[in-house]
């Protein structure tokens, strides 16, 4: 392998990031090539110089402060969302149950009112909207009858 290619791989060689066969080739080359040896030596010096960089110690109270902050965040979250996941699931199920019961009871109440108003029973497969439409039609017919009788009694439509 040419020196230019070897030197491009020295950074990876330093980091032990080469396959074994390439590592062996470079190791052999470094034994005999002064230029590449110097290049590698400079790379190692750079690595050691960077190692002089200081580190920052973690303050003793860091994790306690962090957990305290998390507790506060969780408390604030509970104020805006007062129930746990389980509680919210129960609430959602309860809402669905209320809606279904409303439809069922509404249907029953509608049929009962219709029967009491008209004296008739609605067919079993009548839809809820039809109950209201039917009831509205009855009311309208009653009103028209009333107006007709009124007009007849009072000598023509106004």
């Amino acid at each position: 392998m040419k020196c230019s290619k070897i030197q491009k791989k020295l950074s990876n060689y330093l980091d032990n990031a080469l396959p074994d066969n390439e590592k062996d080739v470079i190791a052999d080359h470094l034994l005999t090539c002064a230029t590449c040896q110097a290049e590698f030596s400079t790379l190692k010096k750079l690595h050691n110089t960077l190692g002089l960089l200081d580190d920052m110690p973690v303050p003793d109270e860091f994790s306690a402060k962090l957990i305290g902050k998390i507790k506060t965040l969780e408390k604030n979250r509970e104020i805006t969302m007062p129930f746990s996941v389980f509680g919210r699931t129960i609430m959602a199920a309860a809402c669905v149950a209320v809606i279904l019961l409303s439809i069922l009871f509404g249907n029953h109440i509608g049929r009962t009112l219709y029967k009491e108003t008209t004296g008739k029973r609605l067919p079993h497969n009548t839809r809820v909207i039809e109950i209201f439409e039917t009831q509205a039609s009855i009311e309208l017919a009653n009103y028209l009858n009333y107006r007709l009788n009124y007009d007849v009694q009072n000598g023509g439509a106004q």
Binding site: S11, A17, L46, T49, L50, L53, D55, V58, S63, I67
Partner: protein
């Protein structure tokens, strides 16, 4: 990191996802040093490190449910650290106590490299090294820090930074070339 530690990390993060603050505290204790170290070496600014570290761990807590064990926990954590660093902007009011380079230059010397006396003390050297690292482009800086200071392999760095191993090679190679020029007098 051995499999036993990985297993424990996965347990701890799962428990944290269920709201177990004690498990989370154990995770924090285990990784706080690495997080502090990476942030400090990236920013070079001690004042910002604790706030940034806190933000990162809070992010981990809030997103614990989204950890799906597709990677090691440490890889996932470092990804959050890397993304946070990449988004880091130096505050406008800096409280830097940088030592001006003129104070350590040799009189009359001219060079494009950072000029220092060979016998300048270690504090000055550290400042010069910090400055040189900070001058690197963000991705080169991060790749070098993870390789040089966090002992991550190129494959691990590739997983963390979501790039190919050859990109990692290239980032570190170019970072070292730049640093060699800037720190020529220290070598």
């Amino acid at each position: 990191m051995d499999n036993n530690n990985s297993y424990n990390d996965n347990d701890l993060i799962k428990q944290s996802a269920e709201g177990n603050e004690q498990s989370f505290a154990l995770l924090v204790k285990k990784y706080e040093k690495a997080v502090f170290s990476t942030i400090y070496r990236y920013t070079g600014n001690k004042e910002d490190v604790e706030d940034l570290a806190q933000e990162i761990f809070i992010k981990v807590w809030k997103n614990a449910k989204s950890f799906k064990e597709r990677s090691k926990f440490s890889t996932w954590l470092y990804r959050i650290v890397v993304n946070h660093c990449l988004n880091y902007k130096i505050k406008v009011k800096k409280q830097r106590r940088d030592i001006p380079l003129e104070d350590v230059s040799k009189e009359g010397s001219t060079s494009s490299a950072l000029i220092v006396q060979n016998d300048c003390d270690s504090k000055v050297k550290v400042e010069i090294i910090k400055k040189a690292i900070r001058s690197l482009p963000k991705r080169q800086r991060l790749a070098l820090i993870l390789a040089q200071f966090e002992d991550k392999s190129h494959q691990e760095i590739a997983d963390i930074m979501k790039v190919s191993p050859s990109s990692v090679h290239s980032l570190i190679f170019r970072a070292r070339i730049t640093l060699r020029k800037m720190l020529k007098e220290l070598l």
